[in-house]
């Protein structure tokens, strides 16, 4: 019986220790709400959640603009970068306050369906077709549409070395790629997808897609910003960089739904007005020059690109509307 009471003592210790760990755990979990030392003071500040796309976020433009906006307004900007499809879904469900993407057709539908207001375009740049420097498909300096036609013909004929890696993830970049297939006269779902081993759907982010294309010596379609920031890891060179269908327009809009507090809508409008202000436009025009030798974005204040109606949104009228 002695052994038993001793064991119960051990058990008691187990319970005490587990309890101790739990209590310690509780005291350590409390700080999780405040484990954001740089923003401890900001904990009481209202938050403005921006949903954006990975390709834009990865350029760090928003990280660069964030403190400038926060110093003007008493607000804590939080940015979540997801694929365009996911970012739009998050905004549709009312889980973000601002949507910042580069897919005009999806944006127009978003606004038309009443999920967003005050769409403003603030910058543009160009998509690129990049590929191996040997250019096995011989498409250099063609228009994007002609190049895609040549790629399709050579790819389906199994020409050696001709591969194309697509994002394949319903991202803004993927949407732009599909638009070129359509302009070149191909039905994307029936005659491009699954048309042979040459067309590879990565289902990944832009950086990983570039990496995959580089490893396979394939062509791919990319935004300029991600390509420039990723370039040192790649064997790919720009093959096509001109053509109206390569235009990449970035727009911002306020998320609207009936549960959204008016203060959030006002703050989102402030953010939009900040982006189209002359000071921020100038800042955007200088962004990336020091690192890449050229600006990653062309702000609307420098050049408004010519594009089909609706693709470039309003870029000068202040955002004031509080509902659709």
């Amino acid at each position: 019986m002695k052994r038993f009471s001793a064991s119960s003592l051990g058990v008691l210790l187990v319970i005490l220790l587990v309890g101790g760990v739990i209590i310690a755990g509780c005291t350590t979990t409390t700080p999780t709400t405040t484990t954001t030392p740089p923003t401890t003071a900001a904990a009481e500040k209202p938050k403005l959640l921006i949903a954006t796309t990975t390709s834009l976020y990865d350029t760090k433009l928003l990280d660069y603009l964030e403190p400038k906006f926060e110093s003007q307004y008493n607000v804590d900007i939080q940015i979540t970068s997801q694929g365009t499809g996911k970012a739009i879904e998050i905004a549709k469900k009312g889980d973000a306050d601002v949507l910042l993407v580069h897919s005009p057709s999806q944006e127009l539908a978003f606004v038309k369906d009443g999920f967003g207001i005050n769409r403003r375009s603030f910058a543009s740049n160009y998509f690129l077709v990049v590929g191996p420097s040997a250019d096995p498909a011989g498409i250099k300096n063609m228009t994007p549409e002609k190049a895609y036609t040549a790629l399709h013909q050579k790819g389906t004929n199994n020409t050696a070395g001709v591969y194309f890696v697509s994002r394949g993830d319903a991202s803004g970049t993927h949407t732009a790629e599909k638009a070129i297939w359509s302009k070149a006269g191909y039905n994307y779902t029936t005659s491009v997808v699954k048309s042979g081993a040459w067309y590879i759907e990565a289902g990944k982010g832009m950086g990983e897609t570039l990496q995959m294309a580089s490893e396979k010596g394939a062509y791919t379609f990319t935004d300029e910003g991600t390509y420039l920031s990723y370039k040192s890891n790649l064997t790919l060179v720009p093959i096509i960089s001109e053509g109206s269908s390569l235009l990449n327009i970035y727009s911002v809009m306020t998320v609207y739904n009936d549960k959204q507090p008016v203060e959030k809508i006002q703050m989102a409008n402030n953010f939009i007005n900040f982006l189209i202000s002359s000071q921020t436009q100038a800042d955007i025009g200088n962004f990336g020059v020091d690192k890449y030798g050229k600006a990653l974005f062309t702000p609307m204040s420098i050049k408004v690109p010519t594009a089909p109606a609706g693709n470039v949104g309003d870029y000068s009228t202040p955002a004031t509307a509080l509902k659709p």
Partner: protein, 242 residues
Amino acid sequence: MSEIISGFFQAIDLIVNLDPEVMQIATLSLLISLAATIIAAVISIPLGGLIHFYEFRGKRVLIVLIQTLYSVPTVVVGLLLYLFLSRSGPLGYFGLLFTPEGMILGQAILIIPIITGLVIAALGGVDRNISDTLISLGATGFQTIIQIVREARLAILSAVVLGFGRAISEVGVAMMIGGNIRDATRVLTTAIALQTGIGDFPFSIALGIILLIIALIVVIVLNLITAGLSVEAQQALGGPRT
């Protein structure tokens, strides 16, 4: 290959210089996963005990179901929880989406089946002779249960360590529920995903090394606690037990 080496040196550099952003991300990772593990352990250990010690209809089926949930993809847990926590979802009122608390909840849900299942296995692994002996020596049901739990403590610890490992290394819940927001919900795994996407491979590897160092420290501490428990028990018996 050179990225691995420079990643290693960058990790040392980040640790030695206590890079504030990396330290914040690492601390947040540790706190979230530790909290999730503690919550999951508090629920799973008694739950596992309950399932092991009580006979009921459908017990085998329940255990099979729990074991199936070991394989639940983290992204699926993240997605389901997202739909619940979304402002337009049933639990949207609590505002847990894109917060560390939401991530704790998600990771706890993810690892509860693992810890529960392994606790059941751990208790089942205790020699049947022990419980028979205990009962023949006149132990009450409660005393028997406690003693068996004590015998299985190492295996239970492994269950908790594995749960912690799955929590701190997962990226699906952290990305879907946390949103990888800088200074708010960015943890080591989502930061690694981000840096890889940007193409900063050495930094990604450095963060991976830091994650493993944190795991090493947690495992050492948990093992010390268990070893401490054994020593305490031995002292209570008045000397080393043979």
